[in-house]
């Protein structure tokens, strides 16, 4: 439990520093995003935290029209799964400019906007728009 707390906290702290981190296994060097307390490849719990390049392609997505109470003010919003390097994946909201539709394999980059209480929130945005 300590370890779970540690990796989740590392992830959340990193988001607040506008970074995305994963875990790296000291035994087999496997990287996991989001970070995990036990290596999925070799089972080791010798885990370090490492910053990853938060750029990837859109694997799949939905457009949420009926949202939970926490997200009612955002509908409709795009929720997608983004694949980073090494087949690591993350879920997140995809923010696209007006008139741009999501597409398979669209290249997206993690950007960070201000959330509640000064915390950062990760948003996936199209690389082209920069």
């Amino acid at each position: 439990m300590r370890e779970i707390t540690r990796v989740v906290k590392a992830y959340e702290d990193a988001i607040n520093q506008n970074r995305v981190v994963g875990s790296i296994c000291e035994e087999c060097q496997n990287i996991s995003v989001p970070p995990r307390p036990v290596c999925r490849v070799c089972g080791s719990d010798k885990i370090d935290i490492t910053t990853v390049d938060a750029i990837g392609k859109l694997l799949t997505w939905t457009v949420i029209h009926i949202a939970p109470p926490t997200h009612l003010d955002r509908v409709p919003y795009i929720l997608g799964i983004v694949e980073l390097e090494n087949e690591q994946r993350l879920s997140g909201i995809v923010d696209l400019p007006e008139g741009v539709e999501p597409e398979f394999d669209m290249i997206l980059r993690a950007e960070f906007e201000e959330g509640q209480e000064g915390a950062s929130r990760l948003r996936w945005r199209r690389v082209r728009e920069q």
């Binding site: 009926i66 939970p68 926490t70 929720l79 799964i81 879920s91």
Partner: protein, 354 residues
Amino acid sequence: MEMAEITNNSIDAIYAGMLSPDVFEHQMHAAPGIPDYLGMKNTPSTRLEAACASGGLAIMHGIIGIASGLYDTVLSVGAEKMTNLPTAHVTEALAMCADDIYEVSSGITFPGAFAMMARAHEREFGTNAEMRASVAVKNHKHAVDNELAQFRKEITIDKAINSLMIADPLRLYDCSPITDGAAAVILVPWDKAKNYSGPKVKIRAFAQASDTMSLHDRPELTGFMTTKVAARKTFEMAKLTPKDIDFAEVHDCFTIAEIMAIEDMGFFEKGKGGSVTLDGETARDGHFPVNNSGGLKAKGHPIGATGVSQVVETFKQLSGIAGKRQLDDVSLGMTQNLGGSGSTIVCHILERGD
């Protein structure tokens, strides 16, 4: 219990599948309420929870209780009372079955998770809106003959593919409804079942599998590894193959879920689940009927009850008491009960008892 000629005093233990009496009914520790309200004295009553697969676990762990030799007669129950809460809160409650840290914080919903799989399935196999809708059309048609179904009205593909968008590409008619309900079975060792004159069915095999909480942590987005693992283990225990099974009740919480289930269980080739449904192969008069009860889509989906209800339907078919929806000449039926976005799967194979 009347049908099974069982009285309160002969129940050794109760297993109850419920998702969240906590959130839906402000009642934790709900399992002892069952023997309490049934007037039983001190009968152990255990709640099992694995999201929408809670009912399947109540059956499976009831069987394990009997197999252990500890109990002779078990009451396995599934129940959920969902309509106390407004829809937005039910949506939120169900989303709580997804991973809270990485998924719920991103605004995922239950339909949203399956919508992402539907899109991946469409990309890889061409499973389109019409194919998905054909699952709903079939299950609504099946439910017309189920007097316990929530909806007993046929719908058309046209109506389904034009219904309200919930989580693109899934529309209202791709989703199972919010339902109150309960279901129960009595389990006894097979050699003691002969003491009862009522209908009885043999549980041939069962298995349970888990997977990651988050969808993004799984290599495959077009099916469930849990369904594959649980189905394979169930077939192994039964010493059977998919070809031996006559019909199935699978977890169609969303239309795409039924399509993936019949593929992952091995009844149809991967990627063909949508087209075989559109072609009528899984209809009551098709060669492999699926969700002849109406499924979650039309029979209703009272979360904790669903897995038990699938076994009850299979029981009815195999004992020839399914009335207007009775299938001819069936001797082996299979169930697949799914929890969360597939983080738990429970399968059972039942065999005709005579």
